[in-house]
């Protein structure tokens, strides 16, 4: 009887558990056209079915558990195995779900912010735009073979990390001859962060001109190809530390990596005062300045991670930089951590 109670309790916990998974996997905006989620549903339902079949068998023999041929050990291990399976399933599903969602989000935002241009331009279907991210690339110039054969029906609509990486590789293939493996990896990360940056940039400032419309004389519509070309250009800029100036044919080269900070001429670095515990300053420090305060050299280093900066003491001060050679400096850029 105790065992039955235990099993019932397990079953109840298990049900709650499974329902909680369902609740996590189905947020409010359940999209029946999204073939990924129904496939998750069928997997979970199959687990339900297996459980529903095995559990009533136990309940059909009330009080008879101790002296029947019912194999308690095997049932228990069965339940344990199912529990184990469903934990794994939960992890897998959530991984896929999060990746899928982030890709979907990216593609939607790309669609909204990058590709919807003037009203006269035809708006690409979201599925087409997704190609930028998903990499099935029927619309791109496709010098590379498509990572997935086009004829194959897409049963699983979700994108694995591998597929995503492959798709980026295919984007980079035209450059493959001139790039090392490390550079290719770097570009992959760069590309991802560029897409993210571009999205956040445009999310903050919807009034920004479209990438293709930076040149006001070019009124052509943004297409997947031009967007890819634009991303391509940005990757190139990132790799070779160059920047094209809007509306001109001028290209700038970044000489900051070859420059040095003149420490003796630079103002003091911030040293945090000893704050009282639980004061707001202390908390602020924990949250914002957790990492050690960087030396002035950080100003010329590429990392934009939180805390990878030079904290100058006070609100006025200066940093002096020695250039690699005497030259004319056309412009400077300042960058800040993107919050």
């Amino acid at each position: 009887m105790k065992l039955l109670a235990l099993l019932t309790l397990t079953w109840a916990t298990f049900t709650v558990f499974v329902y909680s998974i369902r609740a996590r996997i189905w947020p409010d905006q359940y999209d029946p056209n999204n073939s990924f989620l129904p496939s998750c549903a069928s997997i979970i339902d199959s687990y339900f079915t297996r459980l529903n079949v095995s559990m009533p068998q136990m309940e059909a023999q009330p009080g008879g558990l101790s002296n029947t041929s019912f194999d308690n050990t095997s049932t228990q291990s069965k339940v344990e195995k199912l529990l184990h399976d469903i934990t794994n399933l939960q992890t897998d599903l959530l991984d896929h779900y999060i990746l899928r969602q982030s890709l979907m989000d990216r593609s939607r935002k790309l669609h909204d912010f990058l590709l919807v241009s003037s009203p006269s331009c035809s708006v690409p279907e979201p599925e087409e735009v997704e190609i930028v991210v998903d990499g099935t690339s029927p619309l791109s110039p496709a010098p590379a073979p498509s990572p997935r054969p086009q004829s194959q029906p897409q049963k699983n609509n979700f994108v694995t990390k591998e597929e995503f990486t492959t798709s980026i590789q295919s984007l980079l293939l035209p450059h493959a001859a001139s790039l090392s493996t490390e550079s290719t990896l770097l570009i992959q990360q760069t590309l991802l962060s560029l897409v993210d940056d571009e999205i956040s940039r445009r999310a903050l400032r919807p009034s920004l001109p479209l990438l293709q419309q930076i040149n006001p004389h070019d009124t052509s519509c943004a297409t997947v190809q031009t967007t890819l070309a634009e991303i391509d250009r940005k990757v190139h800029e990132k790799l070779f530390d160059t920047m094209s100036v809007a509306n001109t044919n001028t290209t700038y080269v970044d000489i900051s990596k070859k420059s040095q900070v003149v420490l003796s001429k630079t103002s003091k670095t911030f040293t945090p005062k000893k704050h009282k515990i639980f004061s707001s300053d202390f908390l602020h420090e924990i949250l914002q300045m957790r990492t050690e305060i960087g030396p002035p050299d950080e100003v010329l280093k590429p990392s934009l991670a939180q805390g990878r900066c030079w904290a100058m003491d006070g609100h006025d001060g200066h940093v002096v930089i020695e250039l690699p050679k005497a030259t004319t400096v056309s412009a400077i850029s300042l960058n800040h951590v993107f919050v």
């Binding site: 950080e298 200066h318 300042l334």
Partner: protein, 90 residues
């Protein structure tokens, strides 16, 4: 932003190459750039400021970035990244 010729160690005041304001993008301001510096490209967190080329009669060897205020933060000013752009053609 000040530029200095060959020898910074001499008491040289430097040439003013431009002054500008880094826009606080966290506030979600919709304006692009500010009116005075029409030339500048303010794109999210990466903000480019064009320097006065005419002021650079001689080539400069040292740059001095002088910060005057930091949006009211009196304790410290965090500078994450400074790019220095040289025209490829010059």
């Amino acid at each position: 932003m000040f530029g200095f010729e060959e020898d910074f160690s001499k008491t040289e005041t430097g040439v003013l190459l431009g002054s500008f304001e880094y826009e606080n993008v966290e506030e979600g301001d919709d304006e692009i750039g500010d009116g005075d510096e029409g030339n500048d490209e303010i794109v999210g967190s990466l903000q480019t400021f064009h320097l006065d080329l005419d002021a650079q009669e001689k080539e400069i060897r040292f740059l001095k970035l002088k910060v005057e205020s930091n949006f009211g933060n009196e304790d410290y000013t965090c500078i994450y990244r400074l790019h220095i752009w040289e025209d490829l053609k010059i």
